[in-house]
Amino acid sequence: MKEERNLNILNNFNILYLEDDKSLLTHTKDILDDFVAEVYAVNTSKEALEVLEKENVDVIISDILLENENGIDFLKDIKKQDIEIPTVLTTAHTDTKYLLDAIKLKVENYIVKPINIKELLNTLHDILYPIIQSQEIQKHSNVIKTISAITDSKQVEIVKYIISNLDSEDQLVTSYSDIMEHVSISKPTLIKLFKELAEKKILVKTSHKTYKFDQEALDSI
């Protein structure tokens, strides 16, 4: 469903990459460097913990089988320290034992080696996208709040009423009197506002008391 992800959103994130195979670590880091803000490439869980203390890490990528240790154990360790960072596991072993452990630790994803970099990037995108989205929403509501603070608040309220009363087919079934019952606004002002919206084809009257909200018209402005 997300054929083309906008990988640019990764630009601002820091990644901790834990992998014992140095060659693989280097080559993967070289690629990831182009997409993310910073890749902290480490060989051992000890180094990884040091990084976690010092740096701001958004996503952890960890191999399960490390030299003399285990990626799962490392994750358990950091969960104990109440560090909640989304994690992707990579492994050559499709062992169900690891898989069950991984699910219990609420690992975000599980990538089977050899790593397909597209898969990895997409996974990172999917993990980070909700974070970006919530950031965006926060940003937008701030914008609206700011706008309503400096312009006519009545009109903003009407718009809010319209948007929130749209049905599943983006249709609004209402009358002026209905609106006026909810928002204290004069009828001429209301008519003027609807007319303005109709001129910009944002809200077009289709039949009696029925209006169609057009998303595309809004986007083209």
Partner: protein, 535 residues
């Protein structure tokens, strides 16, 4: 024709009798014949003796008595009377002589009658039995004659004696005339008595002759019976002996046939067994070959795991490098330097992979020829091949090379054995938490290169250790174990390399000064190739 048929029938009946019957029959015939002969001869002798006795006692003695009577009459009485007539003798004297003569006559006569009429000298019961059996007739009517003669003589003698007594009385009364008259009469009387006695003597002699004839008859009869019996026994013995000998011969031939047959059967069985053994040997060889293949396949599985693991890492890196080109290109950041650097890395990785492949390929290539090689090299190579397993199980492997040794043999096979032992130790060490160690020591032991493989897994169980080299013996439940690894190892070491492999549990300072208990596998491989020397 009928007779000969019957004889043939009898013979064939004898022929068909069981052997033991025949022998006992022969024995019976011989003993029976012997017994018969002895009994018959005893009877013959007894009868003859008896008859002679009778002849003497009953016939000869009475004749003597009779002769005596005659003599007495002649000498005592006749002559005395004659002397009296001639008067050359005293009457008193002659009276004594006559009385004595009378007494003698009476006595002898009495004796004779006793003998003649007594049953003491009757023929013996056996003789009678034989006589009646062979219907030899005795002339009983002669007895009547004898009796009449005897009674006549009795009368005559009594009369004579009365007359003699009268004469003696007359003579005493001196009646010579009367006496002489009577004496003349007496001469006649004496002669007639003597004639009677001679008659009796003749009678007795006749009887003796008859009896002698009878005896002769009995004798010849018994002799002929004896002869017939002897001949019969002889013939029967010979016939039976011949039959028996024939039987022996037949038996011998039969036995020979039977033995030949059995020998033939044995030969056939032998041939069959030889073929079967050959087939079994071939089968066993085939089986060994299959097992060898199986064990190779088993280690192939492990080796594949090794290869897979050893390839997985560089393969991951290679993929990453390739993908880096792709992403760099997409981002338009692909620089010459980047390509150069990544390509070099990729080539290094690929070379590494290629080397890994070569290593394993060498192991699986069945090298047919025996070569001279260094044990150290072979063992290090084997360790290299099992590195992944050891790393995975976190097992430390120490190699101690006391002597640098070269042996002549199949490099891959020794490698196979070492891999097998390492694999076994690895399985044994699985139960151990940490401090897992395998130690391999190479040293010279007399004329052998000795490879000791220790581990600290706690040793092999007592009930298992005796069976570890048996085929299809495995303690590994459904896991990797096929149960042929150690069997094949033994085959390789003992059959292909003329060496020895054994195992025991020992305490060993495997890593530190501390003694640890574990299994020890000892491989001895001759430093000089025996067959090479022989050839």
């Amino acid at each position: 024709m009928k007779k000969s048929n019957r004889i043939r029938k009898v013979i064939s009946y004898f022929d068909n009798l069981p052997f033991s019957y025949k022998t006992s029959f022969l024995l019976f015939i011989i003993t029976g014949g012997m017994f018969l002969t002895i009994v018959l001869s005893q009877i013959a002798i007894y009868t003859l003796k008896n008859d002679f006795d009778i002849l003497f006692e009953k016939r000869t003695k009475p004749i003597i008595q009779l002769e005596k009577i005659k003599d007495t009459y002649q000498i005592n009485i006749y002559d005395t009377f004659y002397d009296i007539q001639q008067k050359t003798i005293e009457i008193e004297q002659s009276k004594e002589i006559i009385i004595l003569g009378q007494q003698l006559i009476n006595k002898n006569w009495k004796n004779y009658k006793e003998i003649a009429l007594s049953t003491k000298y009757e023929k013996s019961y056996i003789t009678k039995l034989i006589n009646s059996f062979f219907s030899i007739k005795e002339n009983d009517q002669n007895h009547v004659l004898q009796k009449s003669i005897i009674s006549n003589i009795d009368r005559k003698i009594a009369e004579l004696h009365r007359t003699i007594n009268k004469i003696v009385k007359d003579l005493e009364r001196k009646k010579f005339k009367e006496a002489l008259e009577k004496i003349t009469n007496i001469y006649f009387e004496i002669n007639s008595v003597n004639i009677y006695i001679t008659n009796l003597t003749n009678y007795d002699l006749n009887l003796a002759i008859t009896e002698k004839n009878e005896t002769q008859k009995v004798y010849s009869l018994l002799t002929s019976i004896l002869n017939i019996a002897i001949v019969f026994v002889f013939i029967f013995s010979i016939v039976l002996s011949v039959i028996l000998i024939n039987n022996f011969r037949k038996l011998h031939i039969n036995l020979e046939d039977a033995v030949n047959e059995k020998t033939k059967e044995l030969q056939e069985i032998n041939d069959y067994l030889a073929i079967k053994i050959q087939r079994e040997v071939a089968n066993s060889r085939k089986k060994d070959l299959i097992m060898f293949q199986q064990s190779k396949l088993a280690s192939l599985g492990e080796m594949l795991g090794n290869i897979a693991h050893q390839w997985r890492q560089p393969l991951g890196s290679l993929m990453m490098i390739i993908q880096s080109f792709q992403t760099k290109m997409e981002l338009g950041k692909l620089s010459f330097e980047f390509v150069e650097q990544k390509a070099n890395d990729a080539i290094l990785l690929a070379e590494n992979m290629s080397n890994t492949l070569d290593d394993f390929q060498n192991f699986f290539n069945p090298k047919k020829d025996k070569t001279k090689f260094s044990i150290k090299e072979c063992i290090e190579h084997s360790i290299q091949l099992s590195k992944y397993i050891l790393e995975k199980e976190n097992i430390k492997l120490n190699v101690v090379i006391a002597d640098k040794l070269e042996i002549y043999g199949f490099y891959n096979e020794l490698s196979h054995v070492i891999l097998n032992l390492i694999s076994n130790s690895k399985d044994a060490l699985k139960s151990k938490e940490d401090h897992k160690i395998i130690k391999i020591v190479i040293k010279r032991h007399n004329e052998y290169a000795r490879i000791n493989v220790y581990d600290n897994a706690g040793g092999i169980k007592d009930d298992v250790i005796a069976h570890v080299f048996e085929p299809y013996y495995t303690t590994k439940y459904k896991s990797a174990g096929t149960g042929i690894g150690l069997y094949m190892s033994k085959q390789i070491i003992e059959k292909h390399m003329d060496g020895y492999i054994k195992c025991k549990n020992v305490y060993n300072k495997i890593d530190s000064a501390k003694l640890e208990y574990g299994a020890l596998f000892i491989i001895d491989i001759p430093l000089r190739e025996k067959k090479e020397v022989e050839e």
